[in-house]
Subunit: 164 residues, 2 copies
DNA sequence: ATGGATGCAAAGCGTTTGCATACAG
DNA sequence: CTGTATGCAAACGCTTTGCATCCAT
């Protein structure tokens, strides 16, 4: 469901990327287009390995892992995606284009990322930074703990009384 | 008799670590003691490489890199230190014992970490988490940007009048 | 035509681990 | 003594890179 794209947001991610590439005299190749399409197919968090896996499924145009790494780095520099966390020793990214600033709650059990928005936090941080003479350009806030689902005793049968 | 030590804070980090090790039937070896002493010698951020480097200086008791990694992991599990960021592809830690909750501003230029405390942010996050049914146990907030020093024009040494 | 891009494999790097030896309790 | 811990080096897993080939412009 993305026909509702707000018009304050420029064209497609691909178009936006093309512009960025132009400023660097880089080219919009089929591989890059394939990768960015895959990444923006759904608004979800991802890591390089996932993208490679998706593009390795039969029917998809395969792109080498090296190229995915190189393209992801470019997309990040272009401001289309951004690194949000590190999970399982891998960098995790999310879209940073056409989406409002938000932060995350990360479940320590299922590793799920829950997004939330809160204007107040940004404002406070902005104020704190200013007082310290720090030029704030952005931030990353992760709340750690246990998500609703994981906290709820999973169909709690009789659990073992103890274990050594 | 250091009665100045707040009594809500147990003895020394080493003592605290010894207790932790006991609960796991692990031993407080000379190496572990050397490492923890070095880490708590000053309240500053550090990474494994730095600790290894310090303990490699002549005069210091050398400890293998593998042991430092293993000990740092234990210290983290013991709650004595905690991971605060990732810089230069290395995990960066700080003391998490006897120090109040705080967050950081990270300079994109010099990589410096600036600490700050702000009660309000924690409160807001706590509220947000609760509304989402998330059991918050802690958080990590990094403000990104340019620090005061790096933002200041680099004392132009080629000033016309600066020919002393 | 031609300078940038891709794929492959090898290299890099921080971090982990197997194993023989060396200690703490 | 006995089960842990250490040191060393090899193994690992993610990410980067050199190079020959390929392609967008």
């Amino acid at each position: 469901m993305d026909e509702l794209t707000p018009n304050n947001v420029a064209a497609s991610p691909v178009e936006r990327f093309r512009e960025f590439l132009a400023t660097r005299s880089m080219r919009l190749t089929q591989e890059r287009e394939t990768i960015i399409s895959e990444i923006f197919a759904a608004h979800e968090h991802f890591d390089v390995d996932e993208i490679v896996a998706r593009l390795t499924r039969p029917g998809e145009k395969r792109v080498s892992r090296a190229t995915v790494y190189r393209t992801v780095k470019s997309l990040e520099e272009a401001g289309l995606i951004r690194k949000v966390a590190r999970s399982n020793d891998r960098d995790v990214y999310e879209h940073d284009y056409g989406y409002p600033q938000h932060d995350h709650l990360i479940c320590s059990k299922c590793e799920k990322l829950i997004e939330f928005q809160n204007e107040a936090i940004s404002e406070i941080l902005e104020k704190v930074a200013m007082e310290l003479g720090f030029r704030l350009s952005g931030h990353r806030l992760e709340g750690h703990g246990i998500c609703d689902a994981c906290a709820r005793p999973p169909s709690r049968r009789h659990r073992k009384l103890d274990m050594i």
